[in-house]
């Protein structure tokens, strides 16, 4: 094998490694735009709308319009929680902070749900 051959074989192996990461890394091609390898995100689902993700690395407040009215979410220190909701029992607010993959809270009366997705989205569903 000549030096040039070694270069070609080396390049081939590097390309295969790159293709592996490109093809299989991240979210396995999920079209929900769910995961971002860089940071933790939460998915917010509002009745009648496609799910959207929010970056838990960026502190701030998010207001979403549910069936009954606005639900407010607070993002702080990589966590998210309900802070206001038009429902009666406030179960969503009592759920407290959501920080780890799979943490889930929903306001079913208002039709708003929040789930923390992991950096690699290791769980496909939460049974509750």
């Amino acid at each position: 094998m000549t030096v040039a051959d070694r270069w070609v074989v080396g390049a081939a192996l590097a390309l295969v490694a790159w293709l592996y990461v490109w093809s299989w890394g991240g979210s396995l091609g999920s079209d929900a735009g769910g995961s971002d390898a860089a940071g933790v995100v939460a998915e917010v689902v509002v009745a009648g709308l496609p799910g959207e993700t929010i970056d838990l690395g960026r502190d701030g407040e998010v207001e979403v319009q549910g069936r009954m009215g606005p639900s407010r979410l607070l993002v702080q220190d990589g966590r998210v929680r309900f802070t206001a909701s038009p429902c009666r029992n406030k179960q969503c607010i009592r759920s407290g902070w959501l920080a780890h993959e799979g943490d889930f809270a929903a306001c079913l009366p208002n039709g708003v749900a929040v789930e923390v997705l992991g950096p690699e989205r290791g769980l496909d569903a939460i049974n509750y």
């Binding site: 091609g29 999920s30 799979g102 943490d103 496909d124 049974n127």
Partner: protein, 359 residues
Amino acid sequence: MQARRPERIAGRQAPSAAVLLLGALVLTACGARPTPVHEFQFFAMGTLVEVTLANVENAPAQEARHAIEGLFRRAEDDWDAWRPGALARFNRRLAGGRPFAVDADLLPLLQGSSDASRRSHGLFDPAIGRLTELWGFHRDEPRGRPPEPEAIAALMRRPPAMSDLRWNGREVQGTNKAVQIDLGAYAKGYAVDLAIAHLRGVGIANALVNAGGDLRAIGRRGERPWRIGIRQPRSAGVLATLELGEDESVLTSGDYERFFMYDGKRYHHILDPRTGYPAQGAMAATVICRWAAEGDAASTALVVAGPTEWQAVARDMGIGQAMLIDSLGRIHLTEALRPRLRFTIDPESGIPMDMDPKP
């Protein structure tokens, strides 16, 4: 010089072999790129329904999305006793006390749930719709206080049960005025089963349908099995994770799904048909089985059964894999389920109890 020539030829041919190898690897890598995973969600039947399809092209995935959402919408109208649909009509005719023919669509739900009720020792009983209504658990937001004890006692004078329905082929007759059918602990699982049957019928072999505590998955998610988390009953976190087989349902019922706090006490939606009050012995039960409808009934029955009776009820319902979390937070498992769960906490010490929401 001549002796070296073949070597040089071989040497010159080596790069082309490497290029061929490279080309083959590139093609292999491209061919192995998985078809996108499609996820969609909607609210129906009082919960968030999530559907994930793997190895499916975009067009059939979109068609499946419309079909499944339509299926859940029809189920929501037809199988909810408090919406103007087939079950509400059934309950009105049942109250009339005369024999009548049951709708073909409703028949398998009524017969399946009657059968499950019998095998559950009557701990799962869809005949308690009037109790559900009295407690206010038929609404998304339950009423904030328990009903008057006298009102419960009046309904329990002759406890409503599925055995109060007198069947004659497709015809049925009500024999107890206290009976009203509430399929809340069966219909969601049944809808999940129908959704999976639809997906299989259109050639989708890798899918997961999760309607809150009612989940069924077929096939795999790409190269790995479906992985799910089971929620902790007293926090927003995950209690345990598990990988699913090629066709399995996981059903969880718990006292945290629909409840209210009154005078520092939790009143939840899983009513004990023997007492007319919320079940006391357990906060959650999870079962793994083939059919979601069966599992839906079983997980409800196990919460009612509590720590003393749950194993006998699971056995008689044909459930080999089950977990019960009793009212003290202790975790009980069948031997068949134990090795499959990966706990996020030490299962021997039970679940942390300090998260119970205050009124």
